[in-house]
């Protein structure tokens, strides 16, 4: 770990903070285009955050300290997640702090806090949202772990940095297992980020919402932080997906050139990814809440299959 490494780490975090709302805006824009709507401005999320920060917090009478504390924790968790996922470089000082398993743990921690906060006021929708979020979570989490296991077995490591290094800088080998893992990962990301087949971030339709139901009672800076954290989560998942399945372009070591090159590559990859995400969302319909377990169960199965394929076909590779 070096001073410059530390600087780059900080830069990665700041970049994440900055890029996350942009990614959300970009996805929204793409979606609007594909759905023949007039698109909101690309910077709309920033405006929203700014406005929300300006607003007073209106707190329900029954809210406890946990309710006020939770947005910060969720935000903190997402910052940490973005800090350890190699976006630009694999040589991050914070990377050893948490490997992929711990990364799943971070997401889990955030989920627990947001669900608990949702139950805190004691409204019907709040607890409904909390319950559904945990439902999605308990199915998505193991699937994600299995995806990670598949990659971890290839690289003999659970450290994200090592995985990326292995995958990106070895001779190019086709791993069939990675295809399974990739599909599973896509499924999981949709569910985790409250995207269409499972949830719809753009509606408040009471009977179907998950994420929005949980944050109904939030306002002002709390809501801003949660929205920001949601953006960060999308960013983190995207970066994780890119790092696992399309790792090329991420710098190894802290050579200035490599790092500088990594920024535009990342932006480009994110842009493509975001557009794809919007596309998939647009061609799909939201499923009933009880189809979500099937959807995620499929993801889990794919992930396990990936693992088995890895063991069956590739152990001697």
């Amino acid at each position: 770990m070096s001073f410059s490494g530390l600087l780059w780490q900080l830069f990665a975090i700041v970049l994440a903070l900055a890029l996350a709302p942009l990614l959300t805006g970009w996805v929204n824009q793409c979606r609007a285009w594909m759905q023949n709507r007039s698109a909101p401005p690309l910077l709309q999320p920033y405006y929203m955050l700014h406005k929300l920060f300006l607003k007073d917090v209106v707190l329900a009478h029954g809210a406890s300290h946990l309710f006020r504390f939770a947005p910060f924790v969720v935000f903190g968790c997402m910052v940490l997640a973005c800090a350890i996922i190699p976006t630009l470089s694999t040589d991050l000082p914070l990377a050893p702090a948490a490997d992929t398993i711990a990364l799943v743990g971070v997401f889990g921690l955030a989920r627990i806090f947001i669900s608990l906060a949702a139950m805190d006021i004691g409204t019907s929708f709040g607890s409904l949202g909390g319950r559904r979020e945990m439902l999605v979570g308990f199915l998505a989490e193991p699937a994600l772990l299995m995806v990670i296991f598949t990659t971890a077995m290839i690289s003999q490591s659970t450290s994200v940095a090592t995985i990326v290094e292995t995958l990106a800088h070895r001779d190019f080998i086709i791993y069939p297992s990675m295809a399974f893992a990739g599909i599973a990962f896509t499924f999981v990301s949709f569910a985790e980020n409250a995207r269409v087949p499972v949830d719809n971030p753009a509606t408040h339709l009471e009977l179907t919402m998950i994420h929005e139901a949980m944050i109904l009672e939030y306002s002002g800076r709390h809501l801003a932080l949660i929205e920001w954290a949601a953006g960060l989560k999308l960013y983190a998942y995207s970066c994780l997906g890119l790092a696992l399945f399309f790792p090329w372009g991420i710098a190894e070591g802290d050579s200035m050139f490599g790092l500088l090159l990594a920024i535009p590559v990342l932006v480009a990859k994110l842009a493509i990814g975001g557009a794809l995400l919007a596309g998939i969302e647009s061609v799909n319909a939201k499923v009933r809440i009880f189809r979500a377990p099937e959807f995620l169960g499929t993801a889990f199965l794919f992930a396990v299959l990936g693992l088995l394929v890895r063991l069956l076909l590739e152990t001697r590779v």
Partner: protein, 669 residues
């Protein structure tokens, strides 16, 4: 005067616990004396035990022979590193529980305090003796004393029929388990008649008999630990007991069963066979899935925790199985990893599950309510308990940065490196097991959110909850101690592994400590940092920094204004407490997804109902598939045999006559 050896200190501690118990009997109704003097002293003894074993860990074994026991088999005691790890667990966990208990017992509740004091300290002393015992007789005596004293504690409030039933079931299964353990010991002596553990170690058993011994031990200790299918007592007994006792049973007593399994399979039996591990792992997985699923659908807070204990025991059995597999194939580094996960999870579970049970105790005291359907919103009235319970909940859900995550992380790491096993079939199965473990961990989160959210968050479901009060100073102290342990185990894994490594090394001949120490005390990297690493302190610091910095920045750049208003709830007007999810409602998705796993009796309201209601009762399939048929069978046999006693004297004479004639005709020297 020779220096006091650690084993002597522990013996003195056991005697001290006994003495404290009998001191309580001297003044059975003097609540102040018992709760404010004896129980804190008991806690001090617990700390002493913990510190002694900390000091001891890493040293070579010490033995002692007491002058009591059978004529040719006096009590052998032995303190080695495996024992020391569990004594550590016992000492530190019991210290917190004892302090809590000092504030918990009140006047006019259940049995006389003096009696409770005796049973409680007897329970502690017998657990210590279980860990120290080095021959079958001493072990069985201590083991059954432990069962007995805890049985009496469970049935403290024996006026309720269901508590008596729970106690009966508990003691019955404990006894049957004990019989199985005794048989296992018997097999291990291999007919030499030497029932000291040293004698058993010296035997070289054939694979068949070694397997028999292992399976018997698994059944016997499994009955104590709550492994499927002999788990049925656990969800009955834990809720029935007073909360400190539930905490002690769940946090500490279940671990003695794990201790026994470790002792038998690694110490007494020598080299394991690979399929033992598969058996242990399969049972463990089934138990874990069963436990966590049932835990999510409970409506009684202590039952929920009890099922969660079953889940954790399942995970421990999985870790045990994995260790056995690795050890059987001489992959000692990986075996050490899995065993470290196992021991770590023992410690972690002792901390967080005791903490949670004690929290339910405080809630129970404040509200007199155990049913989740009648609680809610207690974070406002009981902030201490609520915030400390949060630590337990996070740890129990296996989330960073607390203790539960570390052990889960280690376990998953062990799974991850399982390929390379020489057995292709195993190679395939083991990762699937890892998937199940992941599923279980995630479901545990579901259960814990339910537990915490419904008890502490939301609106109060009953009017009376407004009078709830926070825990008293003693209770708080106990909770803080255990929460502190949970946190310490969460953020200082390398240091802790440095201690428990001695036990791993003793059992497997390999350990993690050297590799872990290489990379500094803040980093946990069991193999190498390139392969996997976890730095909980930095992890925690980063999140904390983000939280604080975020808050400061937001407040500095914008403002910190806040006002209160009614909740929004999509404009829905009727926001009474009944609009919230009930305990049953919260778990509805689980019941629906895993429907075949449960035996449900549901009542749905119809249009014609005058007073419509909905109810659901979840029961255990195994109870109906295994236990009731067994009971019917025994009853049938017994009905058949009772016909012997028909009351007619001529028939009785006939028996006698026939016996004589048959013997005369058949028996020949």
């Amino acid at each position: 005067m020779p220096a006091l050896l650690p084993i002597d200190v522990l013996l003195i501690a056991a005697c001290a616990w006994l003495a404290l118990g009998f001191a309580g009997l001297a003044a059975p109704r003097n609540l102040f004396f018992i709760s404010k003097i004896l129980f804190p002293l008991g806690a001090a003894v617990g700390v002493l035990c913990g510190l002694t074993s900390l000091r001891f860990l890493g040293e070579s074994a010490q033995v002692a022979v007491l002058a009591i026991g059978l004529p040719d088999l006096p009590f052998h005691l032995r303190l080695d590193n495996l024992t020391a790890v569990f004594v550590l667990l016992l000492g530190f966990a019991s210290a917190g529980i004892s302090v809590f208990a000092a504030g918990y017992f009140r006047k006019g509740e259940g049995a006389a305090p003096g009696l409770m004091c005796l049973q409680y300290h007897l329970f502690l002393a017998s657990m210590l003796l279980v860990l120290l015992a080095d021959d079958a007789y001493a072990f069985m005596v201590a083991w059954e004393c432990m069962a007995l004293s805890s049985f009496f504690l469970v049935t403290t409030d024996h006026r309720h029929a269901e508590i008596r039933r729970a106690g009966y079931l508990y003691l019955l299964i404990a006894h049957i388990g004990a019989i199985s353990i005794l048989l296992s010991f018997g097999v291990m002596t291999a007919g030499s008649g030497d029932y000291s553990f040293a004698g058993m170690r010296a035997q070289a058993l054939s694979p068949f008999w070694a397997s028999a011994a292992f399976l018997l031990a698994l059944a016997g200790f499994g009955a104590k630990a709550g492994l499927l299918p002999v788990h049925v007592w656990l969800p009955e007994a834990h809720p029935a007991a007073p909360s400190p006792v539930s905490a002690m049973m769940s946090g500490v007593m279940l671990k003695t069963a794990i201790y026994g399994l470790l002792r038998v399979s690694f110490d007494l039996l020598g080299t394991p066979l690979w399929w033992w591990g598969v058996v242990a792992m399969s049972i463990g997985l089934a138990t874990a899935v069963f436990g966590v699923l049932y835990s999510t659908v409970q409506s009684d807070m202590k039952r929920l925790l009890a099922y969660s204990s079953i889940e954790n025991i399942g995970l421990l059995a999985v870790a045990l199985g994995l260790t056995l597999i690795f050890h059987a194939y001489r992959m000692e580094a990986l075996a050490a990893l899995a065993m470290t996960a196992l021991l770590y999870h023992c410690l972690a579970h002792a901390g967080f599950k005791s903490l949670l049970f004690l929290c339910t105790g405080s809630v129970l005291h404040a509200t007199r309510e155990r049913s989740l359907g009648k609680l809610g919103g207690l974070i406002h009235r009981m902030p201490w308990v609520a915030w400390l319970a949060l630590a337990g909940v996070i740890a129990s859900a296996g989330l960073p940065p607390l203790s539960g995550f570390v052990s889960e992380w280690l376990l998953l790491q062990a799974f991850l490196f399982s390929p390379g096993l020489p057995h292709p079939w195993l190679n395939m199965v083991v990762p699937v097991a890892a998937a199940v473990v992941a599923l279980v961990a995630a479901l545990a989160g579901f259960a814990m959110v339910k537990f915490y959210g419904i008890i502490f968050l939301g609106q109060m479901r009953e009017e009376a909850l407004k009078d709830a009060h926070d825990a008293g100073p003693w209770e708080k102290a106990g909770l803080v101690w255990l929460a502190g342990l949970t946190l310490a185990l969460g953020v200082l894994p390398s240091a802790v592994i440095g201690y428990i490594d001695a036990a791993t090394r003793q059992l497997l001949g390999a350990g993690l400590a050297d590799k872990v120490r290489e990379h500094g005390w803040w980093m946990l990297a069991p193999i190498s940092p390139e392969r996997a690493s976890y730095e909980p302190l930095i992890f925690l610091a980063t999140i904390a920094a983000a939280v604080l910095l975020g808050r400061q920045l937001v407040h500095r750049l914008y403002h910190g204004r806040l006002r209160r208003s009614a909740a929004w709830d999509c404009g829905y007007v009727f926001q009474g407490p009944r609009a919230q999810d009930t305990a049953e409602g919260f778990s509805q998705p689980i019941r629906r997804i895993f429907e075949p796993m449960f035996r449900m009796e549901r009542h749905f309201p119809t249009i014609r109902d005058e007073r419509p209601y909905y109810s659901v009762k979840v029961e255990d399939h195994l109870w109906h598939w295994l236990y009731l048929p067994l009971a019917r069978l025994a009853n049938g046999v017994s009905a058949l045999i009772t016909r012997l006693q028909g009351g007619r004297i001529a028939i009785y004479l006939l028996y006698s006559f026939l016996t004589l004639i048959v013997l005369l005709l058949v028996a020949r020297p």
